[in-house]
Amino acid sequence: MSKFVLMVNGEKVEVEAQPEMPLLWVLRDKLKLTGSKYGCGIAQCGACTVHVNGSPMRSCVLPVSAVSGPVTTIEGLAQGGELHPLQSAWIQHDVAQCGYCQAGQIMSAAALLANNRNPDDDDIDQAMAGNYCRCGTYIRVRQAIHTAAAYYDADTSSTKVTGAGQ
């Protein structure tokens, strides 16, 4: 067992874990942050997606010892009491069916919008390629990302991008 100091959703935490323990299990079992989901353990489905240094990472294959910067999970995406525009758009479009993959979808989408405020369908397909949805919510995932992007377009001056690199 080793001790690791992580910055998770803006808070400094210490965890004791085996160095090879994937970040996902540190988040879920040790920090009780269960918003990030286990789906495959081999970085195929994206249910475990979190941001590390603002980049989308599959936390199921990322050893805790290799975490190189601040971590943002779905629980830390809403900032200052406001939902992230993607979270609002997700509600507006009633995207979720079972809901299990949605945290991973939203985290991948948030990383996309942090770098590209006006993605087209191809940009979305590329950024979201690592996220499975078994229920088939992809149509609404696309719509919600466009809606959230439009929100930035309408109000870029006063809106801070949250969730990426916090």
Binding site: Q18, Y38, E75, I91, Q92, C98, C135
Partner: protein
């Protein structure tokens, strides 16, 4: 609805939610987390589904498990509508598992709406009458001059009182005689028929939604369970000393197979959920037990194990198809002479479909806490899990450990997908057995390979088809030989033809036979069991016959439907050819049937009836020289009667189309000597976002009772796509998945 409005509306909830810092816990009102279903503080219970706070909040209990089908939103909408509530005032909570109050609390077979709609309407109307009774007393006016709407009871003079103001008196009103209840005129509906977002959307998008896998119980330990790779084998020994010495491991032990776990009162589940033999490892966290499992060496006794092999099944089926025979299910006329007639054109075709897995995004898991009775008290079990039929878990606890139902507490959590998999509770049996041995709460989480290897698969199968077309271009004979799978001679779920199958009831000159091969591989219900494969064969072969006749597929299919009629008069679960004709025509019209398309692009049509739903789909598909195929658009026409939640219904259709496409394109489970050959998503791919087609959905809201939509939009997708590929390329597809034929979905 604008984003800013959503933000404002959610601001309060989100502020509460975000205040907890790192250990963010959902800070909804306590009521939202209540599970006991008792009367909430300051709340008045009008019936077991409806409570009203004095401040006006209306709490509606949802009694049916939620797996993404949207039932937790749909059924409360019906209650809210009938009672005259404003949806904004409604909070929906999960009802506890209590058959005495809520009847059968299960979800399967697209039956939740038809089974519950009348109860929901009665509960809403009953609550409304009690509120009107209270208003009549308090306002000293006649009941006849009162009406409930917008969460108020309003007098014809315009005076009104809110539900919150009325609650305390309403609760003392006599419960109306169900026979005397009146229901709203559908033309005055303000909730039913609109689009209402899922009631759990906020908790889902903020990562707070508690699925079974997220459960945290004080003192809980974590477990993994390794079963024999050959289905049906049992563990005899393992390297226990080494495993127990692994970091974070508390204990490791063998569980013996236990057939008692599988005994079920619900016929279709009986015998399915046997506990399989294996090795349990229990430790401090999930990762520690998974890491220890990597070092596990088990000696398996495979004497009773499966020796099923898919390759052998295919060979055997082809032999049976060539020999003919089988049990005669239907012989409605003289098929043989029609095939023998020299000027009839005859076509034969062999169709094949594979076993597939459910792969719910949330792998199977359960958290169990066995409490040994002390000082004369009885043993008790508490369990948390996602389940389509949570009442079954009580039976399993009783079967395995003799714990009586009143001492078993089941917490049914939101499911990260069901699709039929969570009708079977083998994982619950495992978790309970492990906790029983340890005497502490244990969370058992399956890995994805566990989930694939130990599924109750959608059964594969084969159909030998033969048809004759007369010189006028009409169907002269239909011969269908279904070659499926059985256990001890009894067809497994989804294998064989249903009695109300189109070919069984609607064709004039048809012969249908069935042969079964015994297998050991576990099979279960998979979204639209039977229908999801039979549609592929029947609707593909009808297209083949239309082609043989040189006829337009649409015209040929409509002709087969014949006169507009119920095939079983007055039975809403029977095919109605009029409803069929209407959806077929509408889908074709909206898709532009007959339009000119670029080379390499085609339209394909299919219709299917199941789960009381009539659904037609037209797929527009393009195929390039490298066999990359793209489903550009799917046009869907659905008749399930009046739609309750438009957004939810649309979601089910969109999801069914994508699920159907994902499955037919690249999914296949094979087995060799009883060992499942696919381990994870790299070998069992789910469709990714880039392949998503446009899905254009049209509802025909016929004047029939509303029925379910979780399954019936899936079956027509596969034949619509393969028929479109034929239109685009001239190539006929008679087997799934398409990846095995060199096609790639792009």
């Amino acid at each position: 609805m604008s984003i800013s409005r959503i933000n404002r509306r959610n601001l309060f909830k989100v502020s509460a939610l975000a205040s907890g810092g790192l250990m963010l816990q959902l800070n909804l009102p306590v009521a939202a987390l209540a599970e006991d279903g008792g009367t909430l503080v300051q709340s008045k219970e009008l019936n077991v589904y409806v409570q009203i706070d004095t401040d006006g909040q209306i709490t509606i209990y949802s009694s049916i498990p939620e797996m993404g089908q949207g039932i937790k939103t749909t059924l409360p909408m019906i209650i809210a509508e009938e009672m005259g509530a404003r949806w904004e005032d409604v909070v929906v909570l999960d009802a506890p598992l209590d058959a005495s109050k809520y009847g059968m609390q299960g979800a399967g077979g697209s039956t939740s709406v038809p089974r519950n709609i009348d109860t929901m309407r009665r509960m809403g109307a009953s609550a409304r009458e009690m509120l009107i009774g209270a208003a009549s007393l308090l306002m000293e006016v006649e009941r006849e001059d009162l009406d409930a709407r917008e969460s108020k009871v309003i007098h014809s003079s315009g005076e009104s009182m809110t539900f919150g103001q009325l609650a305390a008196v309403a609760v003392r009103q006599p419960v109306p005689d169900p026979e005397m209840l009146s229901f709203k005129d559908p033309r005055s509906y303000t909730i039913i028929g609109t689009s209402i977002g899922g009631v759990d959307n906020l908790v889902i998008v903020s990562g707070q939604s508690q699925f079974g896998i997220d459960v945290d119980v004080p003192g809980m330990k974590f477990a993994t369970y390794a079963r024999c790779p050959r289905i049906g084998g049992r563990a005899t020994s393992f390297n226990a000393t080494e495993i127990k010495a692994q970091p974070g491991v508390i204990d490791a032990f063998i569980l013996q197979p236990d057939a008692r776990a599988g005994k079920a009162s619900m016929g279709f589940l009986d015998g399915l959920a046997d506990l399989r033999g294996g090795v349990a490892i229990v430790g401090d966290d999930t990762w520690s037990v998974l890491a220890a499992r990597e070092k596990l060496q088990v000696t398996w006794d495979e004497s009773g194990a499966s020796d099923d092999s898919w390759a052998q099944m295919v060979d055997q089926a082809k032999q049976i198809a060539a020999e003919g025979g089988g049990e005669v299910r239907l012989d409605s006329g003289s098929v043989a002479p029609a095939f023998a007639q020299a000027d009839n054109k005859v076509l034969e075709a062999f169709y094949q479909f594979p076993y597939v897995a459910h792969v719910c995004m949330e792998p199977m898991n359960a958290t169990a806490h066995f409490k040994k009775g002390t000082a004369g008290a009885a043993d008790a079990m508490e369990i948390w899990l996602g389940s389509q039929f949570p009442g079954q878990v009580k039976e399993i606890a009783n079967n395995m450990f003799g714990i009586t139902p009143e001492n078993v507490t089941v917490h049914a959590k939101r499911m990260g997908g069901g699709f039929g998999r969570r009708a079977v509770h083998d994982f619950a049996a495992e978790a309970m057995a492990i906790s029983h041995r340890m005497g502490i709460p244990v969370k058992l989480t399956w890995t994805r390979p566990d989930d694939i290897h130990n599924d109750f698969f959608r059964v594969g199968g084969f159909e030998q088809m033969k048809g004759a077309i007369d010189p006028a271009g009409n169907l002269a004979a239909w011969d269908q030989h279904y070659i499926g799978f059985s256990k001890q001679g009894k067809p497994v779920i989804g294998s064989g033809l249903r009695g109300n199958e189109f070919s069984m009831v609607a064709l004039d000159n048809a012969r249908v036979t069935q042969s079964m091969m015994d297998i050991a591989t576990p099979c279960g219900a998979w979204r639209a069991p039977g229908s999801n494969t039979n549609a592929f064969v029947e609707q593909g072969f009808i297209h083949e016959l239309a082609d043989l006749a040189g006829r337009d597929h649409l015209e040929f299919l409509l002709e087969l439907m014949g006169e507009r009629r119920w095939l079983d008069d007055g039975n809403v679960n029977a095919l109605n050819t009029g409803r069929a004709i209407d959806v077929i025509k509408l889908a074709a019209e909206k898709a532009g049937w007959g339009k000119t398309l670029p080379a390499g692009t085609g339209l394909g049509l299919a219709f299917y009836f199941c789960h009381a739903a009539h659904v037609a789909e037209v797929a527009q598909v393009s195929v390039d020289a490298d066999r990359n195929f793209r489903v550009e658009k799917v046009t869907v026409a659905v008749d399930v009667g009046p739609i309750i939640n438009r957004s939810g219904a649309m979601s089910q259709v969109q999801g069914s189309v994508i699920d159907g496409l994902s499955t037919m394109a690249g999914q296949q489970i094979t087995m060799e000597n009883g060992v499942i050959q696919q381990d994870n998503f790299d070998e069992y791919p789910v469709m990714r976002i880039a392949a998503t087609p446009e899905v254009d959905v049209h509802f025909i809201e016929s004047d029939n009772p509303s029925t379910g939509l979780g399954e019936p939009a899936l079956p027509p997708l596969a034949p619509a796509v393969t028929n479109a590929i034929h239109a685009a390329t001239g190539e006929r597809i008679r087997s799934m998945p398409l990846s095995e034929l060199g096609f790639k979905l792009v």
